[in-house]
């Protein structure tokens, strides 16, 4: 492996340095039909699951085929995406805000062969490379995070939980038979990178044990006041400890005040908390971000704990499937999962989804917790 210079001179690092040029300009990459009709679209239609047409004031049409993407992808896979875009789309493509891939063409005759081609491509293990879907009232791609592939604070894996879930929900990706669209998101810790706090169903990695403290190293590795300030429940305080006759500065964690958020570890490498049996999954439900009919909603915790059951998390996927089936059967047309749960009442939601209600689900975080309890006699038996 011989080093090949790009032209960068490490002896003169600031020489010929280019900075602050930002991203490439979006319109360099517009397909001609998009450039021509931008801002002048009249309407759209979903022709079938995963296939859209947009019609412009000019009468021009652009057909879009949306396919599922893993988000995590290799250059080999990207080059195969390129090959398809070159073959059918004059070398243009785009990615969606949920990490699906969209192939666009203004040639209607390209749609059918492209569709057949996409569905014929499979990985060696048998999975589709480019499943078509993700439109309308169904389940689309799962917005997710790094997990065990790249992050240091996760309580579960992201790519694995997502693959396991999408396999179970696959027929909802390729069809449009739900009352409304259903967004599933995943975050591997409660930093909640992504959309877990505002999704119809959310998978959240969670710890259940307080951090361990690396007393010998903490004062060398950490800015102790930052670790203290990182705690939402003030469970951490500074202290001193004697090890081998030497007095060391460290912290103590009041276990009954710690709810295992892991934010102290984010700030301080000497407070790791990951654990094989302690860690697992929280499920949340009922969030949305659109303003359609009512305001955006946070997702609510509906399952306090499911163990990590890698590689396929069967309890988690079965629970998600059960929730979606109950929703699909019971909700009205256009009703998002959260709108349905609020209409029938959360007591009925737990009953219909066959979820156990435990004390963990009652809010106890500061003053706002009160507003989540029931100050009315209106409830259902």
């Amino acid at each position: 492996m011989a080093f090949i210079s790009s032209g960068y001179n490490p002896k003169k690092p600031m020489e010929n340095r280019i900075t602050d040029i930002g991203p490439r300009k979006y319109d360099e990459f517009y397909p001609p039909v998009i450039a021509k009709n931008k801002g002048k679209w009249l309407y759209h239609e979903i022709l079938e699951p995963g296939i859209l047409v947009h019609v412009g004031e000019s009468g021009d049409k652009v057909y879009t085929i949306r396919v599922g993407g893993c988000r995590f992808m290799s250059v080999t896979h990207l080059r195969e995406i390129n090959e398809i875009a070159d073959k059918y789309c004059d070398g243009y493509l785009r990615f969606t805000t949920r990490n699906n891939i969209e192939f666009m063409t203004d040639k209607e005759e390209n749609v059918k062969p492209m569709k057949e081609d996409l569905l014929s491509r499979k990985f060696a293990g048998g999975s589709y490379k480019f499943p078509i879907g993700g439109t309308g009232a169904g389940v689309t791609n799962i917005v997710h995070t790094q997990g065990w592939i790249h992050c240091h604070t996760p309580a579960t894996d992201a790519s694995g939980t997502v693959k396991a879930t999408m396999d179970v929900l696959f027929d909802q990706f390729t069809d449009m038979k739900l009352p409304a669209k259903l967004r599933v998101s995943m975050a591997c810790c409660l930093n909640m990178c992504g959309a877990v706090h505002c999704s119809d169903i959310a998978i959240l990695g969670y710890h259940r044990k307080p951090p361990m403290i690396d007393h010998e190293y903490i004062d060398k590795m950490c800015e102790i006041p930052l670790a203290i300030a990182a705690c939402p429940t003030a469970a951490i305080k500074p202290t001193k400890i004697e090890i081998e006759g030497k007095e060391l500065k460290t912290v103590s964690v009041k276990e009954e005040k710690c709810m295992f958020c892991g934010n102290c570890y984010t700030m301080c490498p000497s407070m790791p908390l990951a654990d094989d049996v302690g860690d697992g999954i929280v499920l949340m439900a009922g969030g949305k971000i659109s303003n359609r009919r009512d305001a955006p909603k946070f997702s609510k915790v509906v399952v306090a704990f499911i163990p990590n059951e890698q590689p396929r998390w069967p309890t988690m996927t079965a629970t998600i499937k059960r929730m979606i089936e109950a929703y699909s059967k019971d909700a009205n047309k256009y009703e998002r999962l959260g709108q349905w749960a609020e209409r029938i009442g959360w007591e009925r939601f737990f009953e219909k989804c066959e979820l156990e209600f435990t004390h963990h689900l009652i809010d106890d975080f500061r003053d706002p917790a009160y507003y989540t309890w029931r100050q009315t006699t209106n409830f259902k038996f």
Binding site: R17, T19, M73, Y92, R94, F123, G136, T145, L190, P296
Partner: protein, 438 residues
Amino acid sequence: MAKHETPLIDQLESGPWPSFVSDLKQEAESRAKNEKNIEYQIPQDCCDDLLGVLELSYKHGRTHWKHGGIVGVFGYGGGVIGRYCDQPEMFPGVAHFHTMRVSQPAGKYYTTKYIEDICDLWERRGSGLTNMHGATGDIIFLGTTTPQLEEVFWELGHNLNQDLGGSGSNLRTPSDCLGESRCEFACFDTQAICHDLTNEYQDELHRPAFPYKFKFKFDGCPNCCVAAIARSDLAFIGTWRDDIRIDQEAVKAYIGGEIPPNAGAHAGRDWGPFDIQKEVIDLCPTKCMRYEDGKLEINTPECTRCMHCINVMPRALRVGNDKGASLMVGAKAPILDGAQMATLLVPFIKVEPPYTEIKETVIEPIWDWWMEEGKNRERLGELIKREGMQKLLEVTGFKADPRMIQEPRSNPYVFWKADEVPGGFERDINEFRKFHQR
């Protein structure tokens, strides 16, 4: 022959959804064969070792990445997420495995030429693995070594006219919905302003100068396809002030069953024939619509522009002509004091280049306040909670407006300023005692 046995993650190769494990294996194989005779600048077997370390995490139920990692390129304070494996002897190919964030074009449109160029670069100088895309919007180059960071950055800047994205306590990479490029609902050019503000504030993006992270997102309408309302400190959400445009003939076509409702989004189930009363009029949140004598009417002043009727009948109803955006502030995830959705600050503002009013009356006054008053690692939303919405109005100069609240306060703990009260706060107890004995 694979370098490591991976019985657990092998089980994620079956099933219909695209398997990241299969893809990772195909990249490992491609690097092993090296048909193009590439001089790989990081270990040729890095993908094998990533499979190995992932398998070990599946066995242990814990991550195998060490805490943190501080690496980067000269001139910038962010853009690269350093990462080191905690079993470097077992998996030397991923001993260093840093992520580089690459600033994406607004709307995420690409040509295959561009994708090919970044693949060539990343295959040679990195792992050949990516995330398309990170949740904030960046193209993610996943896995390289420290000595390659400057080399990748040099090639990006000199050969691809392409910069890094943001990380750290700064302005992160802005992102947008596809807007007017392919949507009839868009109320402003999301891509144009996303690109403009990204360039205007390059210094704030590359060199952390803030108390904590700050994000912009741009949604063309209240459907919020990029989730600005939940995932950005300053959210731009398109809206309009005049009448929804109604094509009465098209309304009749929907009622006659000639056009499927919601553009066919519910075609997978038989929901019965379209019923405009049940599916539109009765579901309108403000009940400002009626359909009588073959004519659809909307009482515009009562409409809150929720998009439902337009979403259901996109060929008959269009957003108004007097378009702009609502600006909302403070969304964040739970850490530290609870999740927040964005709060309405500016009900309506025109979104037209060069966006001077937005920059001078909203963005910069908010930054001036938060950069001075924000505590270490305090998001804007938390500062607003700590110092009050009134303080935000004071620093931006916007007048209090009932549109900014869901409901007025129910507690009477109202602060007044001394100059709002006749006589001020300076009083003499002896004067008071002249009329009120002890």
